[in-house]
């Protein structure tokens, strides 16, 4: 069996591929490092020279403007040189293999790859093949993992709620197809959250999801009761009509977060969403724009967390 490519022989982080397997201590140290980077973002000159001279390649096989942009901003704030590759348009269509693409870019002096790919395991695959000095950050692979999203979500919770060990957290939506959900669940359970709930219709819950350490709720009313954090997941268009769900309307009625349903949670519960939001499908505008939503801070924190991840890897 292949060894875990995420860690070095001594257990240090060589790549960030998935939250699964990271210790609580390591996660907290990433969040602590991110704290310092938040203040950088509040200065006039939002740059530090940490990664000056390093080349970071954003290798996005799946189109994404927002994630790619935050990684780009984070890298530039570290004074790194950033190259954006929207690979879906170019060499892949000419039949170049994934490995050839990676090898060619490595030959151009890449120090770090930030990779998003439609296939689960793609980041692991690339990490197994790059030269020892190159680091890989998984920006989302298929349904498997989106570790920086999981980390920034934990950073947000820590900012607003402080102590993970006293929380009830609900993850709502298409868990089956969501890499964000998997990363969030791994992070929450690792950080000691005593009750992690998933709320979804059965068609959107993968087989054996309890084995991830979650309590399953099909009834959103029951699932949101006394919850401290509500983490909404985006419902993709493909799921909305046909074989997983009959319609967006029925989904919104039973699984969408409205102000009324939010009242079932604790009065100081926070509402999170990885974005982009489908208003009126998984979340009502009044909630998304309301006082309990921390969706915009998530975005700001996302830059600091990614700066932390990239500088920790580059300095390893």
């Amino acid at each position: 069996m292949t060894p875990n490519p995420q860690l070095t022989d001594t257990g240090a982080l060589r790549h960030l591929l998935t939250i699964e397997g990271l210790s609580a201590k390591l996660i907290h140290s990433i969040l602590d490092t991110a704290e310092s980077f938040v203040s950088v973002g509040e200065r006039e000159v939002k740059k530090v020279p940490l990664l000056r001279g390093k080349s970071i390649f954003n290798l996005f096989f799946e189109a994404s403007t927002r994630t790619r942009t935050t990684f780009e901003i984070a890298a530039k704030r570290l004074s790194a040189d950033v190259v954006n590759l929207n690979v879906s348009a170019s060499s892949q269509s000419k039949g170049e293999t994934l490995l050839d693409t990676v090898d060619n870019l490595s030959a151009m002096g890449a120090d770090m790859f930030v990779v998003r790919h439609a296939q689960s395991g793609a980041a692991h695959f690339i990490a197994r093949h790059v030269a020892p000095h190159i680091h890989v950050v998984n920006a989302g692979d298929g349904r498997h993992a989106h570790p920086t999203q999981g980390l920034l979500d934990m950073f947000t919770i820590r900012r607003f709620k402080k102590d993970f060990t006293q929380l009830r957290v609900a993850v709502v939506g298409d868990v089956m197809h969501s890499r964000v959900a998997r990363s969030e669940i791994h992070a929450l359970t690792t950080l000691g959250v005593p009750e992690v709930r998933v709320i979804a219709p059965r068609t959107l819950l993968p087989k054996g999801v309890e084995s991830l350490g979650v309590h399953v709720f099909n009834d959103m009313q029951a699932g949101l009761k006394d919850v401290d954090v509500v983490m909404m997941l985006r419902l993709q268009n493909e799921r909305m009509s046909g074989t997983f769900l009959p319609s967006a309307q029925e989904y919104f009625k039973y699984y969408g977060l409205t102000a009324d349903k939010l009242k079932l949670a604790k009065p100081d519960a926070i509402v999170m969403h990885p974005g982009p939001m489908n208003r009126g499908v998984e979340i009502d505008s009044s909630v998304a724009d309301g006082g309990q939503a921390v969706i915009l801070p998530q975005v700001t924190f996302g830059i600091a967390v990614r700066m932390a991840v990239m500088s920790m890897l580059a300095g390893a």
Binding site: M1, D141, K207
Partner: protein, 426 residues
């Protein structure tokens, strides 16, 4: 050529004839002439000292893809036949999913002719059950049988039209041909690459539930009751599937089945960190399924072990898991993995070796896979204790793709004889 061969001091294990003792084997004119005592005036041209070695019938592999015709970039007949005899295999069955598909007598004749000219293992092709394996039109099964097809298979191609499946089974039953089918519901398995369970959930892989196998298997068994066809079920993977087979056999249905060496040992956890070598069809299921398969092989509900040899070129595995071509190389692992199963499952060697000699012979309806007097001397002589590491350079097959890469194996073939003639020496 009247070669006289004396294999001495070996532990002779012949499952069909229930022999397991140290005994010399005497071969003349390509046939077994005596066991234990030298025949009158026997002067051996060649002596093989099999001390501390096991002498058994040449292995029979019920599924080995040779990749010819059409897929020569993955492997050639030469390289795979070399691999076969290096693995002690003297007789193998190849599925019809070549390019073009084996649905024309001419193609079958050519393949048989090519294989025969190499003078290594016997090749028994399975003919395609439908034209082009497209699942729409029956093939000329009688003609194909005359050309040398030992049975008819649909390989891994979907056969969605139940009426056509029933007709194909009825037609095969007309002539007494065996239909070889791998049970998998096309719709439930669509896009899936891993077993629907905790591992696929964790790894975010599109999944195939076990019921994809049991639903298809139930359909096949009911059609057997309708048509009276004889069916060999290929590559069972689930514990529920095992139970269905058990019931069918208890009922007296003419069904046999096999599992691959991969499924006898591995489960979905062996995908590890997305190892594309563990991308197999049917998928590796969970530990309970694997344990049920191993136990069923021991108690006879499952009849035989095969390699399911599928050489894949390196590029096709050097991609993210779900994009990889499925399949694993296996001709050279059939013997050591059978031995490993026997040791772990505490099955005596006599019974274990039956799974790759006399039982496959029975399934094929051939009088081989044993070393009775007068029998053609297809022999495998191996060292059960010889350790070796599974790595690319240790394999003769062009396919280096196996989830067992890096594993330490016990069991190495020292000599393989075809009709007394040495075809491999290790």
């Amino acid at each position: 050529m009247s070669m006289k061969i004396h294999i001495k001091n070996g532990r002779l294990i012949d499952p069909k004839n229930k022999i397991d003792r140290v005994a010399d084997l005497y071969i003349a004119a390509g046939k077994v002439v005596s066991i234990g005592k030298a025949p009158e005036a026997f002067h051996a041209n060649r002596e093989i000292d099999a001390s501390n070695l096991i002498v058994c019938p040449g292995l029979i592999d019920l599924a080995a893809r040779l990749r010819e015709p059409g897929f020569e970039y993955r492997a050639t007949l030469e390289s795979e036949m070399d691999a076969a005899v290096a693995g002690g295999v003297t007789c193998l069955v190849c599925p019809p999913d070549t390019d073009p598909v084996l649905d024309e007598p001419g193609l079958v004749e050519m393949l048989k002719h090519r294989a025969k000219s190499l003078n290594q293992a016997h090749v028994y092709p399975l003919g395609a059950l439908t034209q082009g394996l497209a699942g729409k039109v029956l093939t000329e099964m009688a003609e194909l049988h005359d050309a040398g097809c030992i049975g008819f298979s649909h390989a891994d191609a979907p056969l969605i039209d139940t009426t056509l499946l029933m007709r194909a089974m009825e037609y095969a039953a007309t002539f007494g041909f065996t239909v070889w089918l791998r049970p998998q519901d096309f719709f439930l398995a669509q896009d899936g690459v891993a077993h629907d369970g905790e591992v696929a959930t964790r790894l975010g892989l599109a999944a195939i539930p076990a019921c994809a196998e049991t639903i298809a298997l139930s359909t096949i068994l009911f059609l057997m009751r309708e048509t009276g066809a004889r069916v060999h079920i290929c590559r069972l993977s689930s514990r529920d599937g095992v139970e269905l087979i058990r019931q069918a056999k208890a009922e007296g249905l003419p069904v046999t089945c096999d599992i691959s060496i991969n499924h006898a040992h591995l489960c979905d956890r062996d995908i590890g960190y997305f190892d594309a070598n563990a991308n197999l069809m049917p998928p590796l299921r969970d530990q309970r399924d694997r344990d049920a398969l191993r136990a069923a092989l021991a108690d006879g509900a499952i009849d035989a072990l095969c390699s399911d040899h599928t050489p894949v070129d390196e590029d096709a595995k050097q991609v993210p898991f779900a994009e990889a071509e499925t399949g694993a190389t296996g001709l050279e692992l059939l013997l050591p993995l059978t031995l490993k199963w026997a040791t772990e499952q505490k099955v005596p060697l006599l019974d274990a070796l039956a799974k790759i000699t006399s039982e496959p012979a029975r399934i094929l309806g051939l009088n081989n896979g044993h070393l009775g007097l007068g029998q053609t001397a297809d022999v495998c002589i191996f060292d059960p204790a010889a350790p070796w590491r599974v790595e690319a350079r240790a394999l003769k097959s062009q396919g280096k793709n196996t989830p067992f890469l890096g594993y330490e194996m016990l069991g190495k073939v020292r000599y393989t004889l075809m009709a007394g003639h040495g075809v491999y020496e290790g």
